[in-house]
């Protein structure tokens, strides 16, 4: 137990407004030296370095980044696109905002390198609409990069050209789903697409497309400069390289971002050793470990190592590493009702099980919360969740169903108290 010492890549720059400028980036962060190096490497060599790094997507799915890049067909007749998913819409997640406002050049350099690796000359940063200020900071950083020849035609004197544009979303959770995002980028409603074809075959504007998260792309310059093996060793589990930004919110003494080795700490260590424990030294009631889509954990389950496989093994997920901590005096029925209201609101409406089911779950939960529930409602909730799970085009349906199922199964007594007492015992 206790703290682990580790090299961090990002967090030391957060809060430092100077770090976002080109001068600082060039002088203090070896800025654009990785791009220069990558442009002298073949596309395959760059991809193989990223494969070696065991970098896995930081947006939620955890797919190996190098493998994803390898899916882009070499002989494509259509232009290829690189899209950065900066929608950061998963509740509980707030790391990409700091990456964009404090180290925007890492993202820009990472994207230029990725563009070279997959043979794309056009990149977009799809940023959630609410991050108005961050979009402006990115625009300013992009302009700086153009003026220094790090973006645009013949980057750093090479024959590689890459244009980068910030594209703002406009308030829709579903645009964090990559095909919903691509539709939104194309000027349509952000409704997810039927897959296949996957974006690597036909993504943005019909061309082969890679969609990567902000944190994923921001790690690329380090991998190129210091090697895939070095990056892989930063992680403590075999398949997961690098550090990860954990976003901790809710009832802890020190909420915020923590950059730690992938798989390097347990959930208990993060909550008690890093975040100082529960507010007011109260008892822990529940933890949502990977954004609001992740099934909930009980206090007995927090000795799990914080990484993709260990969390999957106990039936939940690391997702976007948005960890929400709940203390003993907050009503969990109220909490899951609020979560479900969110999914009902954000369902795009294409798939009936999700569109109707999320609203039904919200209604049933609402009546339980307010003391009008019946015993049979718990079985009904599980039944509705089961009829959504795995029966929709995208993962939003599963994201709504998983939490409901887990709260009802793991905290059944809390629901029963509301039903039998005909009111919220905490109210």
């Amino acid at each position: 137990m206790g703290m682990v010492s580790t090299e961090t890549l990002f967090i030391q720059h957060f809060g430092n407004e100077e770090a976002r400028g080109m001068d600082y980036y060039l002088e203090k962060m070896a800025g654009y030296s990785a791009l220069k190096k990558a442009l002298q490497m073949s596309q395959d060599d760059v991809i193989s370095e990223v494969k070696k790094s065991n970098l896995r997507g930081r947006g939620g799915a955890g797919f190996p980044t190098g493998v994803k890049w390898g899916f882009i067909p070499k002989q494509a007749t259509q232009p290829k696109y690189l899209v950065c998913n900066a929608d950061e819409s998963e509740p509980g997640t707030f790391k990409d905002r700091d990456l964009m406002r404090f180290t925007p050049h890492l993202l820009i350099e990472g994207m230029a390198i990725a563009g070279h690796a997959i043979g794309s000359n056009t990149g977009y940063i799809y940023i959630r609409g609410e991050y108005t200020r961050e979009a402006k900071l990115l625009d300013a950083a992009i302009e700086e990069a153009y003026s220094k020849g790090c973006l645009g035609k013949n980057i750093l004197g090479s024959n590689f050209s890459f244009d980068l544009t910030v594209h703002r979303g406009a308030g829709a959770y579903i645009c964090g789903e990559e095909t919903g995002l691509l539709n939104s980028l194309e000027g349509k409603r952000g409704e997810p697409r039927v897959k296949p074809p996957f974006p690597a075959q036909a993504g943005a504007f019909g061309g082969p497309t890679i969609v990567n998260n902000v944190e994923t792309l921001s790690a690329i310059p380090f991998i190129i400069n210091r090697g895939g093996e070095w990056f892989a060793k930063l992680g403590k589990l075999e398949k997961s390289g690098g550090t990860r930004l954990f976003c901790v919110s809710g009832h802890v003494k020190k909420p915020g971002l923590y950059e730690l080795p992938a798989g390097g700490v347990t959930l208990r260590q993060l909550i008690y050793d890093y975040c100082g424990g529960i507010l007011g030294d109260k008892k822990l009631k529940a933890v949502i470990p990977g954004g609001s889509s992740a099934p909930v954990l009980t206090p007995d389950e927090i000795d799990v190592v914080l990484d993709i496989e260990p969390l999957m093994k106990i039936g939940t997920m690391l997702g976007s590493a948005g960890i929400m901590v709940v203390s003993e005096d907050y009503c969990l029925v109220k909490l899951i009702t609020r979560i479900t209201k969110f999914y009902a609101h954000e369902s795009c409406g294409q798939c009936t099980p999700c569109r109707e089911g999320c609203k039904w779950m919200e209604d049933v939960l609402h009546r339980i919360e307010h003391g009008h529930g019946q015993e049979r409602d718990l079985a009904l909730l599980l039944d509705i969740a089961d009829n959504i799970n795995g029966k929709t085009l995208c993962a939003l349906g599963d994201a709504a169903a998983g939490p409901v199922t887990s709260f009802v199964r793991k905290f059944k007594a809390d629901f029963e108290e509301h039903i039998r007492g005909k009111k919220c015992p905490n109210a």
Binding site: P91, F94, R97, R128, G187, L257, I288, S292
Partner: protein
């Protein structure tokens, strides 16, 4: 019909055009730019955006109505969007909404009769570590409590 979008809007769009392989991709940026000028997207504004892009007004509405940030009704000079998603609720966001509703005499989703304030409950703003959070027009305010909220409101003309 007389145009209601400014020359600046058209210049801004002209600059963005070469960035995209299709003009329809300019729809979201165009709606943002139009809203920046007019504070909300009136039917006339939607029509003019459609005319510029070269799509039917119904297609503009179909897209604009999908996204919560496009104001299809007029909003107040000060648009408060208080996050009431999980992390903010854990940290007492509902008290902020109640306080605003009482103080301004409107319910969330409404605008004061003098068109000064619109209050909305918002889904996750991505500021969970500094919850509770809200947006006031384009700016974030974080680690809020009722006292801080009152100070912010008092500073608004």
């Amino acid at each position: 019909m007389a145009k209601i979008l400014s020359k600046k809007f058209y210049e801004e769009m002209k600059k963005l055009e070469p960035r995209y392989p299709s003009k329809v991709a300019l729809l979201l940026p165009a709606l943002h730019a139009a809203q920046n000028e007019l504070s909300w997207l009136s039917p006339e504004a939607l029509n003019e955006v459609g005319e510029y892009i070269g799509i039917h007004p119904a297609q503009v509405r179909e897209v604009a109505s999908f996204y919560t940030m496009y104001n299809l009704k007029p909003v107040g000079k000060y648009h408060l969007k208080i996050c009431t998603n999980v992390a903010c609720c854990l940290m007492g966001a509902e008290k902020l909404v109640d306080h605003c509703e009482k103080k301004l005499g409107i319910l969330a989703g409404e605008t004061t009769p003098d068109k000064k304030f619109t209050v909305m409950e918002e889904e996750c703003l991505g500021a969970c570590g500094t919850a509770p959070a809200m947006m006031l027009n384009d700016d974030y305010y974080e680690k809020l409590d009722v006292k801080k909220l009152d100070q912010i409101l008092a500073g608004l003309e």
